[in-house]
Amino acid sequence: MAFLAFGAGLTPDFRSPPEVSEIEDIVTEEAAVRTQTGQSLRVTPLVAENDFVAKGAAVACLRHAPDVCFVAPFAGRVGRVSLLPGRKLSEIVLFREESDAVEHHDTDRAATPGGLQRLMQSAGFWPRLRRRPFGGMPDHAETPAAILVMAADTRPFAPDPRLALKGREEDLARGLAALARLTAGPVFFCRTAGPPMLAGMSGDARIHEVICGARHPQGSAGIRIHQLFPAGLDAPVWDVHAEDVAALGALLARGTLPMTRLVHISGSALRRSCWVRTHPGADLRQLTQRIVLPSPHLLMSGSPLDGHAARWLAPRHRQVTVLPRAETSPRAAHWLVAALTRSVVGRPAIPTAALTHAFGAVLPATPFVRALSAGDDETAMKLGVLSLLEEDIALADYVLSEGGQLAAELRGMLDRIQNEFAA
């Protein structure tokens, strides 16, 4: 079946205007420090409003693990610290100021795995990691069973990691070697087909190169984890973007964590698509102000498939999507139409080839979707639900025209499993 698996996946067709090829460096005037999408964490703010912070300085740390810090993406002044009930971080808004102040970190202690972990946590690298099962930032003392480094992204309009990593091969190799010290298990480096990206790294037997196909969801971390090293309740698997691994390499070499990342701005409500190098928490309004078409539009952080409406670029996102805002009809729908469309929640999924390919043909799609919508945790766990997150099934959600229903069911199931096994 190898020849069938090679072409698995789909290429959904979205519209975006032609793009400008040069990459612009933009540090926005405002930025927000936030937690990963979908996670709410109790924090202790380390700054007060109107304080000056250097680039890379900690602005908040976790309440129960003060080692893990959230850092400022640029030097500036703290505008607003807003916490939700329970001292959960909502956002810390910063205003940029002209200053070269940069936080330096002592890299001597990074020789041991424990020291490396503490350096990553205090330098604000920790929020760039994500764990499975259940998603979100890893626990501060967690040891992963395996790590996936994603140098492939097949989401529509995703930036090419090769472009982002051009000229940073040394940093990448250093970061990868450091990551390998954090786990006793394998480190998978997933890349697209083409020339090898790890020229000098053939020495370590634990680092495996994996080549992903060009169709979505082949370059989706969850699908790859499901195939290579399924995450389990006692076997967490981390995934991190290759650009962030290069940033880790730079942190180890120079003591400062690079904040910028390559971001692609696309979508049908733009005059032109463009590439920018910007930082997490960037102000999407400033990024898109000059290129958006004059009509109501929706700013999304993330791809058209798995993005969400946002004001700030989410911590792990590398895409901004701008879509026309759908006109809401002033008249209420006819009662019969409303009765037929609103009453049945969770419409049945008809097994088709499209559904199989929406999961990259790596798992029995129909039994999985049926287990999800029936809330059958046991079957879903057998089929590998612990390796998956919302973004991995976003394509299936789109293909089945469910409008987020499948992702909501997955989140509900993961939360239920987490509560059940935490008890």
Binding site: P230, G232, I350, P364, P367
Partner: protein
């Protein structure tokens, strides 16, 4: 929120398009009588869909048209309005609508209807098809495969075993013709056939094996009767085949990764 295409009604519409070659050739050969049979089954199916829509707010599905078409083509001749309406009511309500509509059913409503007719009124003559109608099953299957709405493995599993049986002289022409039409119209239904890769192959093989068994061991049975009985039994076995295929899949993953 942007949405894709492959919801229930799209799949139903594509399946209807796939059945068009069979429907057109059949109408062309049967003439006026075809229209009256099709009209009657459409009416009964539509009434029940309407009842469930009003009583249970269950959206009707385009697949009702496919059910009506399959029943009109395959039902015994001279069966009469009352018997036809009774069987269709049973098939559509008990086979599809009580489960929550198309997509949640475990057996194809048309298969249930035809089996009901076969068990309830065995003295009526089953139709015999001209060759062109069976040939039309091939483009129908191709449309279904190309659009991904019909399971390839079911068609291939049944096709390969069936071809072997024909070559070995176990199947006569009327049985092959009827089985080809039943395979495309009833067995290759994406919802009620097996849904895993291995399960689908087995599903097709089980159908063809049952056809061969009935063709050689059921004295006096007509081609359509044999094919419908095989379709009914193979669709009842589909969940079991799926369960077996899933167990195999999970066991393989356990072996490879140490956990599922």
């Amino acid at each position: 929120m942007i949405r894709g295409l492959w919801n229930r009604e799209t799949v139903a519409a594509i399946l209807l398009a796939a059945y068009l070659p069979i429907a057109l050739i059949w109408v062309g050969h049967e003439g006026k009588e075809a229209f009256s049979r099709l009209g009657l089954s459409l009416l009964v199916v539509a009434i029940w869909h309407l009842v469930f829509m009003l009583a249970r707010a269950q959206p009707p599905s385009l697949y009702g048209l496919a059910t009506a078409l399959a029943v009109a083509i395959l039902a015994p001749e001279e069966i009469g309005v009352f018997r036809m309406a009774l069987a269709l009511s049973f098939g559509v309500v008990m086979g599809e609508l009580v489960f929550g509509g198309w997509g949640r059913n475990v057996v194809n409503p048309a298969t249930v209807t035809l089996s009901f007719l076969g068990f309830g009124f065995p003295s009526f003559e089953w139709p015999v098809f001209d060759l062109p109608v069976a040939w039309a099953a091939i483009p129908a299957a191709l449309i279904g495969i190309a659009t991904g709405t019909m399971p390839v493995s079911v068609l291939m599993g049944a096709g390969i075993l069936g071809a072997g049986a024909v070559a070995a002289g176990y199947l006569s022409e009327p049985v092959v013709v009827a089985s080809a039409i039943v395979l495309v119209l009833l067995v290759a239904d994406p919802v009620t056939s097996a849904s895993t890769s291995l399960g689908r192959w087995l599903n097709g093989v089980v159908f063809a094996a049952l056809v061969v068994l009935f063709a050689n061991g059921w004295a006096g049975a007509a081609g359509v009767q044999i094919a419908v009985a095989a379709a009914f039994l193979s669709s009842l076995s589909a969940p079991l085949l799926d369960e077996a295929a899933l167990s195999v899949w999970v066991a393989q993953r356990r072996k490879r990764h140490g956990r599922s």
